[in-house]
């Protein structure tokens, strides 16, 4: 069965005020939330304006506390809009998909964990940490949970807090505008913002609720171009938009309005306009009403996608297209006529498109509106596991991992040496950090074993989902250290570009030329297996990729037993080309619902048989939060291939979700 994801409410905390009523009246009046920053001293910087959440301009609590506060405000607002009681979520098979990117000491999943607890959301809580595309992707993944019947109600959105260090990094990169940003206008540069937004997405017909719009589809892609700059030809953005149109089953002529990422920087706005022209053609593209909400809201980073979608929904309901606040005249190389008057333009449209792009080359586009989807129930494709690669101290292959399983002996502590330049002699690996190096090594080896050569269109048909907890430790230390030593006016820009959790996925995609659907997600412990579950579900339903690499990385993770610091990485190639091992069953449930996850996997397998093997994470590596569960899946694949068994179950109780995967050997099936 496939269920349409109905949007039945939303809530916000943004620079235009707390609450959707406030947001709507500000948008209709053409107000901007951008003002001189007062929360922290901006004298070390060239730019001094920002879009802080209204009422919190002087609140200097630590970022995690503000994150929690903004998230709670937006969630309450969303529940009220959807006419749901605060305490009702427990009984409703609810899930949370959150876009959030912290680069402090906390694990990225902590915000989702705390909010899920506070709002009694018992189902899975998945955090997407791909910077500016975080909440956009979180909405796409949240809608999938409804589509596939894995949840009845999803709160999908994002949160971000503008901190002095974030401001410092962007300021040093030279991308901030001294005056409030005017996307597509003559003035170059962006203005940072913050805030939180959530959508209530539901399976229709379960209760008496108003459906304001349907999330029709989403598209993901990677630029494989540069860590901070978009591909100037806009190829990645175009691929994400095309992916969203295909997923929605919509033609480009049906799109009545486009809410662009439109940061205001030279690089972004020009690339985005190239993408619009390449997807829509010059005639349709030239006539497409297009605007950017960043003149109103600033660039709210991990919350940008959801806030911009909500801005669109508010205006759509009134028969209006949102404006580009501050726009006075077009720049060369940008859209000649964006919606740019002071007040929203009257416009009737059934389907809207919204797109965001991020550091690391991630792109995500959403298609939503009142039009009901026309497509029939989607057919699920079978998914196979074709190769695995594992890497850690004293482990350089899946075979060596098997030896660790047999002996249960602790690996040696010594440094894990990788000589990537000899493995990938033609790839420019200069400046790569530890997480990127580990991820690139396992991904390249796994794809090599699977016989996937990244040439021609295979690059666009190959995806990459990374599961990890935070940015690479060496880059984080280098960035924070540079601020401590040299002050906020002179942070290490090279390290800043690498501190995001998604930086490794972006660097790996760039090194290997992976341009298909990609993301970086976390559920704390179990993040690697989460990446595999997400990849399997995406491959089964979507048609925009033939294989996805699900990978996990831990850099200098504390080992529970010995107290040693370990580096580890694991990659698995999931594909739709039949191979010896099928991913027959997949389950995803809340952190305290491991049994439910296993039952789901069993039911999607469609067999009452008990799996012959139950593979746990290898004991000596049990302390590796992201990688250990992926190691178990890699070992399960190896075991089935060697003929040790015909079926295997890998299950993991992660920090914010429980997961289960059942693997079945197809070769023995044929013999039967």
């Amino acid at each position: 069965m496939s269920y349409a994801p109905h949007i039945t409410g939303w809530g916000v905390a943004s620079a235009l005020g707390v609450g959707r009523e406030r947001l709507r009246s500000a948008l209709l009046q053409g107000e901007t939330g951008i003002a001189p920053v007062r929360r922290f001293e901006t004298s070390p910087f060239k730019a001094h304006v920002g879009a802080m959440v209204a009422g919190y301009e002087l609140d200097d609590r630590d970022p995690t506390a503000l994150c929690h506060e903004f998230g709670s405000l937006a969630l309450r607002d969303a529940l009220e809009h959807a006419r749901l009681d605060l305490g009702c979520l427990r009984s409703r098979r609810a899930a949370l998909t959150l876009g959030a990117t912290l680069f402090g000491d906390e694990s990225t999943e902590s915000v989702a964990r705390d909010l899920a607890k506070k709002f009694s959301i018992d189902g899975p809580a998945i955090t997407v940490c791909t910077a500016c595309t975080s909440s956009t992707q979180a909405i796409g993944f949240g809608a999938d949970l409804i589509r596939e019947g894995l949840a009845d109600l999803v709160l999908a959105g994002g949160i971000d807090v503008l901190t002095p260090k974030l401001f410092a990094g962007f300021d040093a990169l030279g991308v901030l505008s001294e005056r409030p940003c005017t996307p597509f206008g003559l003035q170059m540069g962006t203005t940072l913002g913050e805030g939180a937004g959530f959508l209530v997405i539901e399976r229709g017909g379960l209760r008496d609720a108003v459906t304001y719009a349907v999330l029709r589809g989403y598209g993901l892609s990677g630029d494989a171009f540069h860590e901070t700059s978009p591909d100037p030809r806009g190829r990645g953005v175009a691929a994400a938009i095309q992916g969203a149109l295909d997923d929605a089953g919509a033609s480009k002529a049906e799109i009545g309005y486009f809410n662009a990422h439109g940061t205001g920087t030279m690089a972004n706005d020009t690339a985005e306009w190239c993408a619009v022209q390449s997807v829509f053609g010059s005639e349709l593209g030239g006539a497409l009403p297009i605007s950017s909400s960043k003149g109103h809201l600033g660039h709210a980073q991990s919350a940008a996608g959801v806030l911009e979608m909500i801005a669109t929904l508010e205006c759509m309901g009134e028969g209006l297209a949102p404006t580009t606040a501050g726009f006075q005249g077009p720049r060369p190389g940008g859209p000649p006529r964006p919606v740019g008057t002071k007040k929203p333009r009257p416009l009737a449209y059934d389907l809207a498109l919204s797109s965001n792009s991020a550091f690391g080359g991630n792109n995500c586009a959403l298609v939503f509106g009142s039009a009901e989807p026309t497509s029939e129930d989607e057919e699920r494709r079978p998914v196979f596991l074709s190769a695995a690669a594992a890497l850690s101290n004293s482990v350089s292959s899946v075979e060596e991992l098997a030896l660790i399983y047999e002996s249960e002996s602790a690996p040696t502590d010594g440094e894990l040496e990788i000589d990537l330049s000899s493995e990938l002699p033609r790839v420019d690996l200069r400046g790569i950090d530890r997480a990127s190096e580990l991820l690139t090594a396992v991904t390249s080896r796994a794809l090599g074993d699977a016989g996937v050569r990244l040439r021609g269109t295979v690059r666009e048909r190959t995806g990459l989902i990374a599961g990890l907890l935070r940015g690479s430790t060496d880059s984080l230390e280098r960035f924070h250290g540079s601020v401590d030593r040299r002050g906020l006016g002179a942070p290490d820009t090279t390290a800043f570009a690498q501190v995001l959790p998604s930086a490794a996925q972006g660097a790996c995609a760039k090194a290997l030329n992976i341009r298909g659907p990609q993301s970086t997600i976390t559920i704390g412990e179990g993040s690697g297996l989460m990446a595999a579950v997400l990849s399997a579900r995406m491959l089964a339903r979507r048609r925009d990729s033939d294989q996805i690499v699900a990978a996990a990385v831990d850099v200098r993770a504390d080992d529970v037993e010995g107290g040693a610091l370990f580096d580890a990485a694991c990659a698995l190639v999931l594909c739709t080309t039949p191979t010896a091992v099928e991913v027959a069953g997949v389950g995803l449930a809340g952190p305290d619902q491991l049994d439910e996850a296993i039952a789901q996997a069993q039911s999607s397998w469609g067999s009452n048989e008990r799996p012959e093997l139950v593979i746990e994470p290898p004991k000596p590596f049990a302390g590796l939060p992201a990688t250990s569960s992926c190691f178990a899946l890699a070992h399960a694949l190896g075991s089935l291939r060697r003929g040790s068994a015909r079926t295997a179950l890998v299950a993991s109780k992660g920090t914010t979700a429980s997961l289960a995967i059942i693997l079945v050997s197809t070769e023995v099936n044929h013999d039967n």
């Binding site: 990169l173 860590e227 040299r486 090279t494």
Partner: protein
């Protein structure tokens, strides 16, 4: 060789070594500093630096050698190769 000239050469070599070290650390190059060609372009096909790395390099050069390249329109002409950086440093020190 005159004393002046040998002093000049020694001073230039010392600065060159320091610049190469900074480059290796900034760019996380996995090669010995001596292997960096002083006449290779820093950007594009040479050492493969980009605008993001350039910002960090300028900060380092300003801090270590007292150059004032940050926000200077001259920065782009002075950091083309290792040798042009050394020239700029020598100039500031009045040794050129």
């Amino acid at each position: 060789m005159t004393t002046d000239l040998s002093d000049y050469v020694a001073s230039r070599v010392a600065i060159l070594d320091r610049v190469r070290q900074i480059l290796r650390d900034t760019m996380k190059l996995k090669i010995e500093p001596e292997a960096i060609d002083p006449d290779a372009p820093l950007f594009g096909t040479g050492l493969g630096m980009d605008s993001v790395d350039a910002v960090e390099l300028v900060v380092q050069l300003d801090a270590v050698f007292g150059l004032e390249l940050a926000n200077s329109p001259l920065a782009s002409t002075k950091i083309r190769t290792v040798n042009t950086i050394v020239d700029a440093i020598m100039e500031v020190r009045g040794e050129s």
